[in-house]
C-alpha cells in the first residue's frame, strides 16, 4: 500500500463527473468520485479538499465542522482566505460532506493529550498514523474546542497558503518571472513591474497542475489581514428571519412524524404495550415496540405525542429500579473507601511523598466536595429525520459527529457505509450532547419499519430524562501548609476520569502530590458535557486552593499568583483580571468577590465574580470579569460571545443545575424543574483578551469550568460559608446561619 503522504494530504484538484477539473488524485486509492461531489457547477477548480475556486473568482472554503453558533464557518474561512490573500467579499463556504477525508484525528488528540501542541502532527500524516487512526476512529467531530485549534491551524491555513503558492507559481510560469516579484492581494496576482495581473480563477487551471508545495509558508501574525478581525458571521442573517434550518426544521416530501418514550430506568425494557392502532387515534400510522422504548408514528407530532402519552406501557423492573440519588452517592463513597483501603485507586499523578509531607504540615486542610449529574438541555430538543429505502439510508440531523452517524447507520442496517448519506443541519446547541448517535439510531430503527421518511422528535421531557449526563462526583482533598501558609503537600481522591486526561492536574507548584481516582459502577449514562472533566475539576481545584488561601490568611489572588510564579501566561492573566475587576476595592455589605483560574483546551481563563447574597440567602451574580489568553483570538467578537456563552452555561449549572435519580429514573423533566439562567439572572460580563502568540486555544469551553468556583468563592467572601456541594441552591445561605467573624 502506498503511503499517505503530506503532499497527498494537502492535495490538489481532480478530474471527474464530466466537469473539467484539473489536478491529481487526492490520495492513493483515488477518491475522485467523492470529491467530485463538491463541484457544484461547471468550471470550478477544486484546489485541494479544503477549497475551490469558481470562474467568477469566488473562493469556497470547504469546512468539515458543524455550525452550532460558534461561528466556525466564518472563522475557518477567514483563516484560509487570509493565508491565500483572497478577497473576503468573494469568499464563501460549504460544509464538507461526512467523509473520512475530513476526519479529524487531531480532535482526538486534543481530547487525549489536552494542552500539548503537536508540531509533529503533519509529520505523522506522512507515516500513515493519521490515516490509520481515522480509519479506526471515524472522527469528524465538532467538539473539544478543536475546530480553530486543529482544522484551522493545520488544514485551513495550510490549504490557503498552499493554494496561494500554487497560484503564484502558475503566474510565474506563465509570465516567465520569478515568484518573488509577484504580489497576491484580493484574489488577484500581479507583477507590478510589467503591470501584468490575473485573477485566482484565471490562474486556477494552471495552478492545479503545479507541484504542491510541501512546506507552504504561513503568515506571521503581523502579516494577518483577516485573522484577528471580527468579520460579520455568515450564519447570522438567516437566524433572524426564521430561514435558518435546524435538524428540527427538515422537511422531506412524504415525511411523517414520530415521538418516543424510552424506559424511564436506564437499561430497562418494555414489558408490555398494545401496538394495535385503533380508530380512536386519528392520524396515527404505527405504534412500535423497540424493545427499550415505544415510538408512535403519526401525521404530526401532536397526534404522535398525545397517543404515546395515553398508551399504557409497562416496563420491566431492573436491579436499579429502586435506586435513589442518595444511595448512588453513598455507593460512590463506599467504593472510594474500599479502593483506598485495598490500595486499588488508580494513579493520576504522583510527585514526592504526599502522605509523609502531610504529617509534617503545620496546618492541615481537608474537604469533601459533591457535584450532581447535569443534563445538557440544548435549546433544540433532540431530533432526527431518517429514510431507509432501496438499500440506502438518508439521515438529516444536526450533529457534532456526522461521520459517527454515518458509521452507526451502516452498522445498524448492515449496509455499506457508502450507502448512507448524512445531511448535516444547523445545531440548536451542541454542548457535547450532539456528538452522540443515540437519537439517530432510534430514528433509523423507526424509519426501517416504514417506507416513508420519518422525523423523530423528542419531547423536552424525553430530552431531559434520556440525556447522557455530566457525571455526579465526590471528591476528597487534603493539603498541608507550612508555617508561612504555603502548601507542602496535596492529595486528591476523586471518581471517574474521562477527558481530557490532564483535567485533574493542578497549575500550582506544590511539592508532594498524590492524585488518585476510582471508577465505581454506575448505570447512569455518561456523556461529554461542555468542557467535560474540566467542568468538575475546575470547581474542585479552584475551590480548594481558595480554602488554602483563607486557611493561610492570604489574599486569594495573591496566593494564586505566588503559586504560579513559573507560569508567565498565568501571571499575565491573573494580573489582567486583578486590574479589570478592581480587585480589593470596597463592596457593599453582603457582597463578595471571588476569583478562579483554569487552563483548558489550550486557553487560560481567569474570572472574578461579584456576588450579592441577600439576608434571605438569595444569590445574585452582578458582574463577571473574564481575562483570557487563548494564544490568539482569530475572531475576537465571536470569541467574546463564546466566553459569555460558556459563563452563562456554567452559571446555570452552578446555581440550580441538578439531575437527581429517584426509583432509578431521572426526576427532572423540563425547564420548570431543571431551571436555567434567564435574562434577569444574567450578570454583566466583561471579557478581556490577551493575544500571547501561543498556538490558538479553544473558545467554546474554557470559560465554563471557572465560573462556578469564582461564584462560590465570592459567596464565601460575602458570607463566610464555603460551598462544597453544588448546585448553590442546595445550600442555606441565610444571614442568620452565617458564621460571625
Amino acid at each position: 500500500m502506498k503511503k499517505w503522504t503530506r503532499r497527498a494530504f494537502i492535495g490538489a484538484g481532480v478530474l471527474a463527473g464530466g466537469t473539467l477539473v484539473i489536478g491529481i488524485a487526492i490520495r492513493p486509492g483515488n477518491r475522485s468520485s467523492k470529491v467530485a461531489g463538491l463541484i457544484a457547477s461547471e468550471g470550478e477548480t477544486v484546489m485541494n479538499i479544503w477549497l475551490k475556486i469558481a470562474p467568477d473568482n469566488t473562493v469556497t472554503a470547504i469546512i468539515p465542522h458543524a455550525e452550532m453558533g460558534q461561528g466556525v464557518h466564518t472563522a475557518l474561512a477567514m483563516m484560509l482566505a487570509d493565508e491565500m490573500d483572497a478577497d473576503w467579499s468573494k469568499v464563501t463556504f460549504q460544509e464538507a460532506p461526512a467523509d473520512k477525508e475530513y476526519a479529524n484525528f487531531t480532535l482526538l488528540k486534543g481530547f487525549v493529550a489536552g494542552n500539548s501542541t503537536f508540531p509533529k502532527f503533519i509529520d505523522e500524516t506522512i507515516d500513515g498514523v493519521f490515516l490509520t487512526a481515522v480509519k479506526t476512529l471515524n472522527f469528524q467531530i465538532t467538539g473539544g474546542s478543536a475546530s480553530v485549534r486543529f482544522t484551522g491551524q493545520q488544514a485551513m491555513r495550510i490549504a490557503g497558503a498552499a493554494a496561494k503558492s500554487m497560484l503564484m507559481q502558475a503566474a510565474a510560469d506563465t509570465w516567465k518571472v520569478p515568484t518573488e516579484e509577484l504580489i497576491a492581494q484580493n484574489s488577484i496576482i500581479s507583477h507590478p513591474s510589467s503591470k501584468r495581473s490575473a485573477t485566482f480563477a484565471e490562474l486556477a487551471p494552471a495552478a492545479a497542475k503545479v507541484t504542491i508545495p510541501i512546506q507552504p509558508k504561513l503568515k506571521s501574525p503581523e502579516e494577518f489581514n483577516l485573522m484577528g478581525t471580527s468579520q460579520p458571521r455568515f450564519d447570522i442573517p438567516a437566524k433572524v428571519t426564521g430561514e435558518a434550518k435546524f435538524g428540527m426544521d427538515v422537511q422531506v416530501p412524504g415525511m411523517k412524524y414520530a415521538t418516543i418514550k424510552a424506559a424511564p430506568v436506564f437499561g430497562s425494557k418494555v414489558k408490555s404495550v398494545d401496538t394495535k392502532v385503533s380508530s380512536s387515534q386519528p392520524g396515527v400510522k404505527k405504534i412500535l415496540n423497540l424493545g427499550d422504548s415505544v415510538a408512535v408514528i403519526a401525521d404530526g407530532y401532536w397526534q404522535a405525542k398525545t397517543t404515546l402519552d395515553s398508551l399504557p406501557i409497562e416496563f420491566e423492573a431492573t436491579e436499579n429500579s429502586g435506586l435513589n440519588q442518595d444511595e448512588i452517592m453513598d455507593r460512590y463513597r463506599k467504593a472510594m473507601d474500599a479502593d483506598l483501603a485495598d490500595g486499588n485507586l488508580d494513579k493520576h499523578f504522583k510527585d514526592g511523598d504526599a502522605t509523609n509531607a502531610l504529617e509534617q504540615a503545620a496546618t492541615l486542610v481537608e474537604a469533601e466536595y459533591q457535584l450532581p449529574f447535569l443534563a445538557h438541555a440544548t435549546m433544540e430538543p433532540m431530533n432526527c429525520t431518517a429514510w431507509v429505502h432501496d438499500g440506502k439510508c438518508e439521515v438529516w440531523c444536526g450533529s457534532q459527529n456526522p461521520l459517527g452517524v454515518k458509521a452507526a447507520a451502516a452498522e445498524l442496517l448492515e449496509i455499506d457505509i457508502d450507502m448512507v448519506t448524512v445531511h448535516n443541519q444547523l445545531l440548536g446547541g451542541g454542548f457535547g450532547r450532539r456528538s452522540e448517535t443515540d437519537v439517530m439510531k432510534q430514528a433509523i430503527l423507526i424509519a426501517k419499519e416504514v417506507d416513508y421518511p420519518v422525523k423523530l422528535i423528542w419531547s423536552r421531557e424525553e430530552d431531559t430524562q434520556h440525556d447522557v449526563y455530566r457525571e455526579a462526583t465526590i471528591s476528597r482533598m487534603k493539603a498541608g501548609l507550612d508555617q508561612s501558609g504555603l502548601p507542602i503537600a496535596y492529595t486528591h481522591q476523586f471518581i471517574f476520569k474521562h477527558h481530557p486526561p490532564e483535567a485533574a492536574d493542578i497549575p500550582y507548584s506544590i511539592p508532594n502530590q498524590l492524585i488518585q481516582y476510582s471508577s465505581p459502577a454506575t448505570f447512569v449514562p455518561w456523556g461529554n458535557w461542555r468542557s467535560v472533566d474540566h467542568s468538575t475539576h475546575g470547581f474542585l481545584t479552584e475551590s480548594f486552593i481558595d480554602e488554602l488561601a483563607h486557611a493561610a490568611k492570604k489574599d486569594p489572588f495573591a496566593y494564586r499568583k505566588n503559586l504560579t510564579k513559573d507560569n508567565s501566561r498565568f501571571q499575565r492573566v491573573l494580573d489582567l483580571v486583578y486590574e479589570k475587576s478592581n480587585w480589593g476595592s470596597p463592596l457593599p455589605p453582603n457582597w463578595g468577590r471571588g476569583i478562579a483560574i483554569a487552563q483548558s483546551f489550550g486557553s487560560i481563563v481567569a474570572e472574578v465574580a461579584e456576588v450579592e447574597v441577600g439576608i434571605d440567602g438569595k444569590v445574585k451574580v452582578h458582574r463577571v470579569v473574564c481575562a483570557v489568553d487563548p494564544g490568539f483570538a482569530i475572531h475576537p467578537d465571536g470569541f467574546i460571545a463564546q466566553m459569555e456563552s460558556g459563563i452563562i452555561y456554567g452559571l446555570a449549572a452552578a446555581m440550580t443545575g441538578e439531575v437527581t435519580i429517584e426509583n432509578g429514573a431521572v426526576v427532572q423533566s423540563n425547564f420548570h424543574n431543571y431551571p436555567v439562567t434567564r435574562m434577569n439572572e444574567a450578570p454583566k460580563i466583561e471579557t478581556h483578551i490577551i493575544n500571547s502568540g501561543n498556538p490558538p486555544g479553544g473558545a467554546g469551553e474554557p470559560s465554563t469550568p471557572v465560573i462556578a468556583p469564582a461564584v462560590t468563592n465570592a459567596i464565601f467572601d460575602a458570607t463566610g460559608i464555603r460551598i462544597r456541594q453544588l448546585p448553590i441552591s442546595k445550600n442555606d445561605l441565610r444571614a442568620s446561619i452565617r458564621p460571625t467573624t
Binding site: V240, G242, G300, W302, G429, A682
Partner: protein, 158 residues
Amino acid sequence: MTSLTINGKEYGVDASADMPLLWVIREQCGLTGTKFGCGIAQCGACTVHIDGQPVRSCVTPAISAEGKNITTIEGIALDKNTLHIVQQAWIEEQTPQCGYCQSGQIMSAVALLNENPSPTDEEIDAAMSGNICRCGMYSRIKSAIHRASASLQTSNTL
C-alpha cells in the same frame, strides 16, 4: 377544516380541539421559523403574535386563533429586502449564537417595543425573562433591543 390567517395569508388547516398552534404553523403551514423548545410555556422559543400580542404557541390551541391575525418570525420584515428594525439590530449586534431561540426572542422584543419604544434595562428584563437562550446571549439581546429602540426614535422623528 379550520382557517387561519398567518402573516396576512389564509391557511386551511386540520386541527383537533387541543392541537397547539405551534404544530399547525410548523407542520401544516410549513413555517418552521417558530421553534419548539419545551411545550409547556417555559422557554419562549415558540413565541408568535396574535393580534399583536405575544403568545406561547405551544400552549395555545390553534382553533382559538381562528379569525385573528397571527404573525410569525417570517412575517415581521417589511418586505423581502427590508428587515424589521429589530432584525436589523440583531444582525448589527451579531446577536444569535446557535440561533434556535432567536425567532422567539425577536418576536418578544418586537412586542415589547410596540408597547414601550424605549424600555429600560429592567423593563427589558421583565419582558424578556420568559425567553430562554441556552447559548447565554442575553447581553447581546439586550444591546440589540436598545439599538432597535434608538433606531425607532430616529426613524420616527424623520
